[in-house]
């Protein structure tokens, strides 16, 4: 099943290119040139791509309204306004902010990250090296022996958090705070211990991890 994207953009040229490109990349795109009636379309959409400078209501007002009504639908602001103030205002409600001129690949990557983060991926199966991960069923299969890998709750939470932010480097503070939901205390080794145990279960060679990559001095990354 295709992911449904609602794209609001008044510039005819950019609008048609972006919707064509996203359609070609496998999304079901609805393009509106004004956001005045956007809320009528929201039902069933997985993500909103929103321009800021629009005729009638501006992107900030529309975005705030949509986020209030549909807090579970990610909003990506796609704007030619780049000042810090605009970004701050935008990120009050929006989940990402991409500035023009943007690269089509970058836009697609950001859309994918958001869909994954909000659990809206139409493909719940992730293939990663020798692992098949069914995020919706909380199952991880080792494809070499076709056995299920049993993870503790915390290990699974850490792994899925990394999987939902593919190719992104996450600092240990970010991971700790997302999984434990308490502020990270400097020097705490809990997360490192959990990751070591996690690696022992999922990596072919835990001393040379291929799935969860350590970025020295920064954090961890899962490449997909």
């Amino acid at each position: 099943m295709k992911n449904k994207l609602l794209y609001i953009e008044d510039d005819k040229e950019i609008g048609s290119w972006v919707s064509e490109d996203l359609t070609r990349r496998g999304y079901d795109v609805t393009w509106l040139t004004s956001g005045d009636h956007a809320s009528h379309y929201m039902e069933g959409y997985d993500l909103v791509i929103l321009d800021i400078m629009l005729p009638g209501l501006d992107g900030f007002s529309i975005g705030q309204r949509l986020k209030k009504e549909y807090p579970e639908t990610p909003i990506l602001l796609l704007s030619a306004r780049t000042s810090i103030d605009d970004k701050l205002q935008g990120l009050h409600f929006a989940d990402d902010y991409v500035t023009k001129p943007f690269h089509p690949d970058e836009l697609t990557a950001r859309v994918e990250v958001l869909l994954r983060r909000f659990g809206k991926m139409s493909q719940p199966l992730i293939q990663l090296s020798h692992l098949s991960i069914y995020l919706d069923q909380n199952r991880i299969i080792d494809t070499r022996l076709n056995t299920e890998i049993a993870l503790t709750a915390k290990q699974f939470q850490i792994f899925t958090y990394l999987l939902r932010h593919p190719n992104q480097i996450l600092t240990k503070e970010q991971i700790y705070e997302a999984v434990w939901e308490t502020p990270y205390i400097v020097g705490d080794k809990t997360l490192m211990v959990h990751i070591r145990h996690l690696r022992e279960k999922i990596e072919e060679n835990p001393s040379q991890p291929q799935i969860i990559e350590t970025i020295r001095g920064i954090g961890y990354r899962v490449k997909q």
Binding site: A80, R81, I218
Partner: protein
């Protein structure tokens, strides 16, 4: 302002009242004793000696041809009316008849000698009226005396009278107190005014003053309030201008970025067409230039806003090590893609700096951007916490050709100008050491 409302008028009133009441102060002191001391009203009737003298002569004149008993009777009647007075009478032969007096040396038989002696008898003479009975010398005379204790005025000596001293002191004290109160109130209001003028609200403008009087200080308050109105008006105007300016800049940015987006998109579409290697190179160049132009545009607009002081700075205590780590997490893939060796060495501890995180993010972005643009040949970026001249500093270093080397990728200037402005605003210091072997940038708290 009307004169009667002025402080001057009030002060003059205090002074005038003080001057006017002074003559009444002493009489006022005796008012209580007049009412409390029963003796006093009694004595008052002896004060008007003329009246008494007339009364005595009148009574004497009526007694022409009266018998000694009648004269006695009259003296007793008068005595009832003036119990404090002394009286006696002497008949035509010089013999003293009735004595209604405490005076001891009244002669029984009057001769010229003892008459003179009687007149000179004491230092404190009683006031004495002598009237011939019936107006004739042959009938004898009658004497009316007011003893000195009755006529003597109350003493005015402050030294003698402690109560009076206290009273005088109180009156003087009251005047001082009223004067002090007057100036104390003025002083209090002036201080209040000063406080009101000094303390500012969130918008940096003092609050208006509540005015409920009509004097000089209130006039000053009114003038101050007027000034506040003007200030608010001008601040409002300034904010409008600022909003307009920001809007204008946002519009320019938008209008320039929209065609850039189109160029990028066309370049991207071209990539899918069959192209010669030269064509692909050109395309790559176009993409790079679009990036550069977009970045320059952003810096130019930021610089315009920053140098005009139109960026809002919101400093807060931030763990700078965690902050650098998170910012580097974002930049890592970019460096990685360009083939950089990335050396991040941050200690396992918290280091708190008072910064605006968004501004600081911009600073780091600009510095990393510069490394990518100008130090690509070095293929190295290092981010560390080091000790720099006794301070804890962030060190960002590369192994590029150095900042002074002219490259075909200009634009570092404005990026670094923004870094410099932002650091200055956040009261952070920085230092660049650059050589053909590389560049090191130190950021530290001043």
């Amino acid at each position: 302002m009307k004169f009667r409302h002025s402080l001057l008028a009030k002060y003059l009133l205090i002074i005038i009242v003080a001057l006017i009441i002074w003559p009444f102060v002493l009489p006022a002191y005796y008012i209580p004793s007049y009412f409390l001391n029963k003796d006093f009203p009694q004595r008052a009737q002896y004060m008007d000696t003329n009246k008494l003298k007339k009364m005595w002569h009148h009574e004497a004149a009526k007694l022409d041809g009266a018998t000694p008993e009648q004269v006695n009777q009259k003296l007793h009647t008068v005595r009832e009316q003036y119990p404090l007075a002394w009286m006696f009478w002497v008949d035509g032969t010089g013999k003293t008849k009735l004595i209604l007096s405490e005076q001891k040396n009244i002669p029984a038989q009057w001769t010229l000698e003892n008459s003179i002696e009687f007149m000179n008898q004491s230092d404190e003479d009683p006031i004495t009226f002598v009237s011939f009975i019936g107006g004739k010398q042959s009938n004898g005379f009658m004497v009316f005396q007011i003893p000195p204790s009755v006529t003597k005025l109350p003493t005015l000596s402050i030294i003698d009278n402690k109560l009076l001293a206290l009273y005088a002191f109180l009156v003087f004290g009251l005047f001082l107190f009223v004067s002090w109160l007057f100036f104390f109130k003025i002083r209090k209001r002036l201080i209040h005014l000063q406080t009101a003028m000094t303390e500012t609200q969130e918008n940096g403008i003092p609050e208006k003053i509540v005015i409920n009087k009509k004097d000089e200080i209130s006039e000053l308050g009114k003038a101050f309030n007027h000034m506040i109105d003007e200030l608010i008006k001008s601040r409002h105007h300034e904010q409008e201008e600022e909003a307009l300016r920001k809007q204008l800049i946002a519009n320019i940015s938008h209008d320039l970025r929209t065609p850039l987006t189109a160029i990028r998109w066309h370049a991207y579409s071209l990539q899918k067409e069959p192209l010669s290697s030269k064509g692909k190179d050109s395309l790559h160049l176009i993409e790079n230039k679009v990036d550069l132009l977009s970045h320059l545009l952003e810096n130019l607009l930021s610089y315009t806003l920053l140098s005009a002081g139109k960026y809002t700075l919101q400093r807060k205590e931030t763990d700078i090590i965690r902050f650098i780590r998170e910012s580097m997490a974002g930049w890592y893939p970019v460096f990685e893609k360009e083939g950089f060796k990335i050396d991040v060495s941050l200690p396992e501890k918290a280091l708190s700096w008072n910064i605006d995180p968004h501004w600081f993010m911009r600073i780091l972005d600009n510095l990393y951007q510069n490394v990518i643009r100008h130090a690509k040949s070095g293929q190295y970026v290092g981010v560390r916490i080091v000790d720099y001249e006794g301070r804890t500093a962030i060190l960002i270093e590369d192994k590029g050709p150095g900042l002074d080397v002219t490259t075909d990728k200009k634009g570092a200037g404005i990026g670094l100008s923004i870094v410099s402005l932002m650091l200055q605003e956040m009261q952070l210091g920085w230092n660049i050491t650059s050589s053909p072997k590389g560049t090191a940038i130190y950021l530290y708290e001043k």
